[in-house]
Symmetry: C2
Subunit: 547 residues, 2 copies
């Protein structure tokens, strides 16, 4: 009787395990890949930052978003006083940091006969602190905003906020205290975390001050986003997205060289790919690694392949590239599923069945862009196959590239305007030109013509933010338009520098400080991975940027 039960138990267990494996993993090694990724989880470097300055928020219409943080006193003027008298104060860490906030409360007179209550608000930029959060008009979770109430039962005490925050400024508001004792705040410490350890090389002495500054802020941005994965932004969304990882890993190759972080991200994305083997747009690390189920993000899935190729180039780690090769190969099926015999992507179906991101840009028609990106991904994946001696496994790719390029030119290129256009209204956008050039559809001369044309077309849909700007700079460089590439990079990222950026922003429109994809600018991320790529450009192309 017992024996039979035991056998049934084993049978049920086997069925459960195999069922689970089948449901979760398209790849037989999926589970091990996640374990491999976990074993690569970096121990973060901790730096204790002590603020030195108090600031005051001052309205200033010339300042970014209309607010300036004005230095008003040294930190000791907080530490030497009663917080019951001060009530509200803004502390400046002096730069952007990601980590944990700790402070002491000390008694001035009396014994604490009650708890005390504070609100702490952490902000990356001044206007974020000066703008009331409620009533909250935003389109995403209010909980992203970094205001936290703390009830502290004992004074004196050392207190640490359990939430990791990302900030330069800390507003302290006393919300409750007893009249029967007095107390002060002291020894504010911010434990800053990063997995970027190595000191990147100095730029050439000949580099212009603005390029140096852009590089410095780009490095800082990247460093802040490098945590236990490549995060998109340490304030929000605090997680690994393929598109951000692609750009961060590019910049990492030329700066911090933490290749194990890239390796971890490649493994975790592979291990958490969906039940058809497609790499999902984003994954979460907590409470245990898991994907955003169902979030098929076509451009991101294809950029996984490019990231893997770049990882191999940077490290020569063939073992990893070979192990993950089936994932890259599988992503190509996305292209095969949506490209017809005519060499054209079925944009309508792709756009319905997947999320095509490309840019935060309302109304953008992504037909040409996805056609171009597919060709780019095919080329890069073929390069990867060549490096691994596996071209025979995707022997059809060169012909497919050729067909898709031809179809693109025949169907998406408007000979009259000399630019790519798509949709019924023949929409002209930077995105379309950029991705066709990155896909290698045009030769150098044609590329230059197309880029020049779009830059001379005011009604063309311009890049919505830094992410698309990256691809624009790359397209200019690929088209041998170095001067223009440098000019745009300096103008765009330099614009953020001039507006006082400590780190580069998720959203930047030189003409609209308040632009937000979430209907509330304070919830934008002001330290965002995809904006760090000047680091890559400046360091990969010293002949363009360090002269």
């Amino acid at each position: 009787m017992q024996k039979i039960n035991y056998q049934i138990f084993i049978l049920v267990l086997l069925l459960a395990v195999s069922g689970r494996a089948m449901a979760q993993n398209y790849y037989p090694n999926g589970k091990q890949w996640v374990e491999k990724a976990e074993a690569l989880k970096p121990k973060l470097t901790e730096t204790i930052v002590k603020p030195t300055t108090l600031v005051e928020l001052v309205k200033n219409e010339d300042a970014f978003q209309g607010w300036e943080a004005k230095n008003i006193a040294p930190i000791d003027s907080l530490y030497n006083k009663s917080i019951r008298q001060i009530k509200e104060v803004v502390v400046d860490l002096g730069d952007h940091y990601t980590g944990y906030f700790t402070f002491n409360l000390k008694t001035i007179w009396g014994a604490a006969d009650s708890p005390v209550r504070f609100r702490f608000t952490f902000s990356e930029v001044p206007a974020e602190l000066a703008t009331p959060f409620d009533p909250f008009p935003g389109a995403i979770s209010r909980a992203w905003l970094q205001d936290e109430q703390m009830t502290i039962m004992n004074v004196p005490s050392t207190n640490t906020l359990t939430r990791r925050v990302s900030c330069r400024y800390i507003k302290i508001e006393l919300l409750g205290a007893s009249p029967y004792f007095d107390f002060g705040i002291s020894d504010i410490q911010f434990k800053a975390l990063t997995s970027a350890v190595k000191q990147p090389e100095a730029l050439a002495a000949s580099t212009s001050p603005i390029v140096k500054k852009i590089d410095e802020i780009g490095l800082k941005t990247l460093k802040e986003c490098m945590q236990t994965v490549y995060e998109d932004g340490p304030k929000r969304d605090r997680r690994l997205w393929v598109g951000d990882m692609y750009l961060e890993s590019l910049a990492n190759v030329y700066s911090y060289e933490n290749h194990n972080l890239t390796k971890r991200c490649l493994y975790i994305l592979a291990g958490l790919s969906d039940d058809e083997g497609y790499v999902l747009g984003t994954i979460f690390e907590e409470p245990e690694p898991h994907p955003q189920a169902g979030q098929r993000l076509m451009d991101y899935s294809l950029l996984y392949n490019v990231s893997l190729k770049n990882y191999l180039l940077a490290t020569d780690d063939k073992a990893t590239a070979e192990e993950l090769w089936p994932v890259a190969k599988r992503q190509l099926d996305i292209i095969k599923n949506y490209v017809g015999d005519d060499g054209l992507v079925d944009y309508e179906r792709a756009n319905k069945e997947w999320w095509l991101f490309f840019d935060w840009k309302d109304g953008l028609n992504k037909n040409a862009a996805i056609q171009g990106l597919m060709i780019f991904a095919l080329s890069e994946t073929f390069d990867l196959a060549e490096a691994l001696g596996k071209t025979d496994e995707i022997a059809e790719v060169p012909a497919l590239i050729k067909k898709m390029k031809k179809a693109a030119l025949a169907n998406l290129y408007n000979t009259k305007t000399g630019m790519f256009a798509c949709g019924d209204d023949q929409q002209i956008s930077y995105a379309s030109q950029i991705w066709m050039i990155l896909g290698g559809v045009l030769n150098e001369k044609q590329s230059q013509k197309v880029l020049t044309a779009v830059m001379n077309t005011p009604e063309a849909l311009s890049p919505g933010g830094p992410y698309m700007y990256h691809y624009l700079i790359q397209a200019l460089i690929n088209s041998n338009m170095q001067a223009k590439a440098k000019e745009l990079l300096v103008n765009y990222w330099g614009g953020m520098v001039e507006k006082g950026a400590d780190t580069f922003w998720e959203v930047y429109d030189p003409n609209n400080d308040f632009l937000s994809p979430y209907n509330f600018f304070p919830i934008n991320s002001y330290c965002h991975a995809w904006s760090c790529t000047p680091v890559y450009f400046i360091r990969k192309y010293p002949e363009i940027f360090q002269q």
Copy 2:
């Protein structure tokens, strides 16, 4: 060289230690007493409470403070739904508990792509939840109010609020969530804590239902306040006060019999007495045991002696009583310092140099009350000395008692009104009569006359709350007015029962639900130690209360 340094080190250490000991401890064993108290710290009993009901707050002018919590649905109607749809809900634990709040968040669809934000408000009574806390008009710390915001980074997750709370009702408000996933709350658990373990004996079958109910609620009140010390109230102030301990330990003797808790409190108060050896009004356990320095509360210091005597009577633990005898003896010096050769307390000086509490009652003249309480403390301390065979150490006390009684009658008794009166306006108060009777200034017949007279004097200052009511009941019993004692106890505490009390309140005026010593009734404690004493009366005097 090394040897010399070592000697200097030891010297400095000895100086530091002795300096510290001299500064802190009047009693040579003060430090060891605190250590003894710490060794007696009870391990709390934990009970997991799971709520079964949701309630709605309904205005009802017949209900206590105008609000009623109306049962509307079983808890499953919360657990089975999306909290994004519900947004706000009030959970009923079914009774008052003290401890820690835990809940699960579970995903309904999607993967959590953002943190979520809640406000939890914990209340002991319904109106506390229905009254906005801000702008806060109260005279003590806003932080006592039990509303806490929580940002929760992950769903699914199990979350525990780090703050210990005291409540029956829990309002849950969702303040932030993402539109891209849905989630629910489930498995709310409340870990209830107490150091009251023993099941008290059942009352006699003959006991009336209302007395049974009063006893039950009194027991609950005491149990909630018995934590690692006798707290005054588990919501507020959550700490040991001598006056509350005195009443709690009386009730404990007749119910939970956790005499070690009394012992711990006696030791900790002795060890943390001030640099002149006077027991301070209150001490704090965290972050390490420390007194409210300088808080000399004359009636409380003297009641320390009475508590020690009662502890000895209940336990026969002579070793403890002997060890703490010097403390009791020293408290008598308070009396000697303020009583003149005429046998009268120098009320003006005493009232200036100490806090005389007695009651929350505006305008109360405490001259007669402190004279009476001093005589009471002298008598009780002499009883203690007798039990320890130490009367020779305070041989002067009987004569002092006699002199003080005589002086009281000659100077504070108004023969015209037949009541004690004090101050220029010959103020008549219950407090004056009560404490003269407890001091044994009057014989039985006189006591009855005085109490009857004051109860027939509408302008007499009546007891401000349950603390003074305790002494009134005791004075009635001491005066052999059993029927009146029972009537008042049933009327007063029964009044709270009728108004729906789960535990007895810090403040109770039958005619004013909104009375608050802190200018804001929601901050009152609705489970307060000093209101638990019906337990003591009902069980100590079964012939009065259990018939």
